[in-house]
Amino acid sequence: MKIQVEQLDLLAPWHAITMRAGYYAVRVTVRLGAIPIGGVFVRPVRTRVVRHDRLRRRIARECGSAIAKLLGLAAVRDVEEVLLSSGVPEPIRGAFVEAHSQRSWPTPGVTVAIYTRDRADVLEACVRSLQQLDYPNFDILVLDNSHDPVPTRERAEKLGVEYIRCLASGAGRARNAAVEQSRSEWIAFLDDDCRPERNWLKELVRAAQDADCRCVCGPVRPAKLESSADIAFAMHGGFPNGFTHRVLTPASLDCSLTRPAPAWRFGSTANLLVHRVFIQLAGGFDVDLANDEEADLFYRAILAGHTVHYTPLAIVAHQRAWTRKSLRHWIRASAGAAAIYHVQRVLRYWDYRSLIELAWHRPLALARALASAIRGRSRYPWSLLLVEFRGMIAGPVTHAAMRLRRLGKSNAAKSQARRPNRKLGATPIPSPDPATLTYGAPPRNPSNRAA
């Protein structure tokens, strides 16, 4: 099954959408200029054409309130009237463009670190798209974790970008190497199969204008839904894909008595901007977390009194074509990493809410999703839910076994060096510049912290 992915700018003229042969439905991302509003899913069975009237009704019904708010309309019912095939009518359009085009903000230096592994062609396309950015002050750094470094290194030299070869496997280690290498104020992390939009870096930096902000992340949208695995991944919600601006603050730690801070799945390293000095002091990414290393970083940021932003305007398109095997592997690893993350919150920070999440909320959510999948209320595959459940169980166990093995092999000095910094959660990377920054020691228990 394939789903056609389309983008629709309501400010520009738009007409009917024709579904191509072999596709099951059309997924339309609705935008007002650079601002994404929401998504509409339509399925023209007989005519294979989504007419303007139908699309207008669907957009008004599903995204009406957001459009009315942005266009300054008095009522949601007026939205359908302004969604013309020639675009939004001129007085409203002009006012909207004027309101959203006059803002400017500082553009500090940014190092864009692209993690790649044995995909030189994909990397080149990523670098080419980065060269189209409208951001004035950035440099590109390729983090190569390939088995054979020659093709990637040659391609990086040809493209004129910096190159680091990471011998140790693991994306976390490679990204930590980028933190050591970079001298810019901010570091943006990107995967090689991601294609950022032209305003990507500008919008990330715009969200970082908050003085307390240390991390900014954005949506990672699927560029195509060409297989069942792609669709299942989109339904799984693997990467953040929301249309609203969200902020994680220190208050998020105590927002609920039974729920942990929602740092988990808040963002992704495929689209992330981090303050360099902060991540150096924090010790970089935790290399033991395979997929959720950014969640750990976010948690430590808000624990240190900073904020983390999610901006829906900094969009990257994810070009990866999933297969059934790769998707199952990813979901298992991701569920395991999330479980390890929660176990670490319990053991390191005595956050009992992570224990509740791990032992009660997450299994309950999986059981409910399984029931609705089997009853036909959800189209998400039940087999992936089982994979997720197995990963959630196996993740902490394998992690503990790995730690024990590592402890047995290493000597006391090495184990001392690897022990995480309790103040910021991991071993500090050398050469920090803490003169201008002060980090208070985090309390052992968030409830004590409130007191």
């Binding site: 099954m1 394939k2 042969a21 072999g22 099951y24 399925r43 069975v45 069942s228 695995a229 669709i231 299942a232 059934r324 998707l327 999948a373 089997i374 009853r375 036909g376 959800s378 189209r379 998400y380 595959p381 039940w382 087999s383 992936l384």
Partner: protein, 449 residues
Amino acid sequence: MSANASSVVRAGDALGYGTTHGHAARRVVAGAGRGVLMSVAILQVDLAQPLPTLQTGGRRGGAQWILVKLGPQPLGWVCCDAKQFGKSIGPDALLKLIYGTLSRRIQLVSRERGHDKPIALTRTPFSIVICTRGGGAAGAALERQLQGIAKLRTPSFEVIVVDRAAAANLAGVCETFPFVRYAHDPRSGVNYARNTGWQLARGEIVAYLDDDAIVDPHWLNALAANYDDDHGADSQVNCVTGLFLPREATAEPREQDFSRRVYRAGTWNTTFPFDAVTRVGAGVNLSVRRQTLEAMGGFDVALSGRGGELDLFVRILRDGGAIVHDPRAICFGAIPTTSGQLRQRMFDDGIAFTSCCAKHAYDLELGNHAIRMLARWFRQRLVAAVRPRQRDFSCDAVVAELVGGVIGLRAYGRAARRVRRDQPKFSGRDMTPREIPLRGAAAANRKAA
């Protein structure tokens, strides 16, 4: 439409087999033997031909089921009760009976299609694959079948007989027909033979027939009409199935609307496409594009015969293809006539169905459907086993199907492992499908031609 322009034949009589097959002689009355099901021959009446006088027969005065057709298009069933009409029924009474039962259907078909529109002769090259296991009576059955195929009103086709037993008598039968090619595949499982068939096929469309099926003269043209673009049919059709009718009825024929149906990806409800066999058709009367079979890797050899065709339907629909069921493509075949045969058939069907569902249970797109279909299937069978009103068959047959279903849940995994294990064994030998050259007079004629 003229009432005088009608005719009657037995099922398969159009080919001249009805009398020689001896349905009346083989009719077994209830209680004649332990475990033997009552079977009644099925007659067919074509309203486009003169109506004859029917011998409703039957010493016990039982019901006679008549399939009413309008040209190649079947319209419905009519039950002719000997108690009401006596030993014979004349054309007028027959016409009255047919119109009393099927008047609305006749009007509908006349208005929609027009009975005077013939099915055009197809130029599409067809390969008809017949998979057989040999055996004692297989030679005579194959000869009858090939004689029927020889009367098909289609200019270009070939027949590939894939013999799994390498029986000498079958090769001899094949030699007498110039359009027949003979191949041997020793591997156990009908899906191996089916794959051998399409790998040897030269035609664009591969049509599969059971070794005991007898085809209607319009069969191949009706199948081809759904593939040909100039007939107004859909160009994306990957598979066309026809109507299978029993030569003898052991129970009241099910109500069927005999209308052409098209199934596409995404048209399924909560259980479709896993109930495709009951909706779309079966492998006894099935045609597929050879290109589609090549792209999909053919039939899954880890499944049994009926499971293989269900799996093929499911994969075609999942991958965006379309399946057409055309009731004008009719073939007749045998059905179980003893309760033992029925039990065995139900047991095999249970294994085939649940093993196919188990295969697709981990599919990202159809996994939820497969699980739901399995739950529904088991629930229905359990209810049917304890409630007589809920079942069409005897309790022992339903229980046999249930047992087969339970076994089938793990059968696919075991069979797939066995296939993987046997792969090196087969790969050591040259298992390329190979045609065995025939040396008879027919082959000489073919060479000369």
